[in-house]
Symmetry: C2
């Protein structure tokens, strides 16, 4: 016995309308095809479900029992199919994303908000972590994708550069370099700077950028916002990429574009290779590709000044 949704729909139509001709219409079938369908259902179940005279159609006792069953089963089945269509239309699902703290705070909020508008019902979970942790989360299948700094190529990973980020020198408006439009590395190399922890991707990029030279370190901190407080309090200067700028958006601070030997820091999308993304994850990646560059441009102080000028 191979009961199908078609069988149940036909049965329900006939049980409700008690008329083959109209039930057939409601199923978009000819009366004869519909008759055969019901007849097959009956012989498959090995039960007469309808007592039909040429003039009247009525449920048998067993037909009433089947009606009681199908009344529950059919809606449940159709709900299940609807649910699957929601996955296909990307109105249901789950995307887990690992991201560097700067990415998570800088561009994900706006991006997730607009993704949620297009795909209500899709849950987006964000893990913020350092680059190496992000990559491990991808490899362990704890997340669908990661947004982090460039990683060494591995056969099980698919890495794609989504955007490039550049660095800014952060100081008080009263600092001697505060009036400059752009700075070169040699102009700031002797400045004691507030640096971040060695495993942060910002620190790693900055260290690598001037290797084998080294920065003059005044302090070492963890969070961007802490560094912002220190700079605002006149306790030093620092350097951060565009994505880190929102933490420094407070009065009295200047962010000046900085030219480094290794000037661009890649923001990469990392996935497992040889594995298709879920529909929801694919849609999220599509949204990322479409909007990451714009989102980053919006964070640059030039853009901000431009916006304020309007």
């Amino acid at each position: 016995m191979n009961l199908s949704v078609r069988h149940m729909r036909a049965f329900m139509a006939l049980a409700t309308l008690r008329n083959f001709t109209r039930a057939a219409e409601s199923c978009s079938l000819t009366q004869s095809a519909f008759s055969a369908l019901i007849s097959n259902l009956e012989s498959d179940l090995d039960v007469k479900l309808f007592a039909r005279s040429t003039r009247n159609v009525d449920l048998t006792a067993e037909g009433r029992a089947f009606l009681a069953i199908v009344s529950h089963l059919l809606p449940e089945t159709e709900r299940a199919l609807e649910q699957m269509q929601d996955y296909v239309r990307c109105q249901r699902g789950r995307v887990a994303v690992a991201a560097l703290p700067s990415v998570a705070s800088g561009i994900l909020p706006g991006l997730i908000a607009s993704f949620a508008r297009d795909h209500p019902g899709v849950e987006v979970v964000v893990h913020d972590a350092a680059s190496t942790v992000c990559v491990d989360l991808v490899r362990n299948r704890q997340v669908d994708l990661a947004l982090c700094a460039a990683v060494s190529p591995r056969p099980d990973l698919l890495v794609e550069t989504l955007a490039t980020d550049s660095f800014y020198f952060i100081c008080l408006a009263s600092h001697r370099l505060a009036g400059r439009e752009r700075l070169a590395v040699d102009e700031v190399i002797d400045e004691p700077v507030i640096v971040f922890e060695p495993n942060s991707s910002v620190r790693q990029h900055l260290d690598a950028a001037i290797y084998p030279r080294q920065w003059v370190r005044s302090r070492q901190l963890n969070a961007l916002s802490t560094a912002a407080g220190f700079v605002a309090a006149g306790l030093g200067v620092t350097m951060v990429p565009t994505l880190g700028l929102p933490a420094f958006a407070q009065l009295g601070l200047r962010a000046i574009p900085l030219t480094l030997p290794l000037n661009e820091r890649d923001i990469c999308l990392v996935r497992r290779s040889g594995e298709d993304s879920s529909i929801a994850a694919a849609a999220f990646i599509e949204a990322l590709r479409a909007r990451v560059q714009d989102a980053m441009r919006a964070l640059a102080p030039e853009a901000r000044i431009h916006r304020e000028a309007r």
Copy 2:
């Protein structure tokens, strides 16, 4: 989309075994047919459910969602089909029977007990009522069948005589006729008898049997058991059919076969014509036909004496 049990079973098999060849076997299909089946399911749902390399089969994210759905839906559907099979195998259902009190108390208990052994899960409901009420219950579809006295033929009723019943003269062992093997109507016509209510089928048959003559009525009662008490207390004699004898099975009472002009009282099966019985009702009727005569013979005092003698 026409999801069927076959689809769900195939999906569950593959999701469980993660191997096309073995899943195909478990569904009694060749590997190629099974592959096509899964492929059709995917294209019907418009979702890739399995990520397959030539070496490995794994669920996709959407496949896992479908698994969660089907894990509930399939067992429920199979339970529903099982339930229908129970109706077919007559292990589930309901039979409503209307019967004369004498039938209900005389032969139905044993018959229902043996029917229940063969058909556990089938509920048998008994309405005991006078013949005319029984017939109305059938016509109003409140019961599937009635066991009652002969009724005047109607086009909407199907009447079948299942058994014939004969009458007995009931008296104390000390009564002047107590020693007789058989009595004729003339021998008891002048005896004041305890009669039953005019609409009882026993009364109607007894009155009709000697029409236009009439019985000498000493008392009029309703229940057989009441009459038995009266006779045992020496308050009179009465006459009942075989089916009424169990109520008089007490010490000191004699039941003597009586020959009346209208000697046989038909016990009829009454159904609605032009309508098939439910499977359960049909089985009950079958059991009735097979066992009613034996059940009635077992009630006759001759049989009882015979049993006691062994």
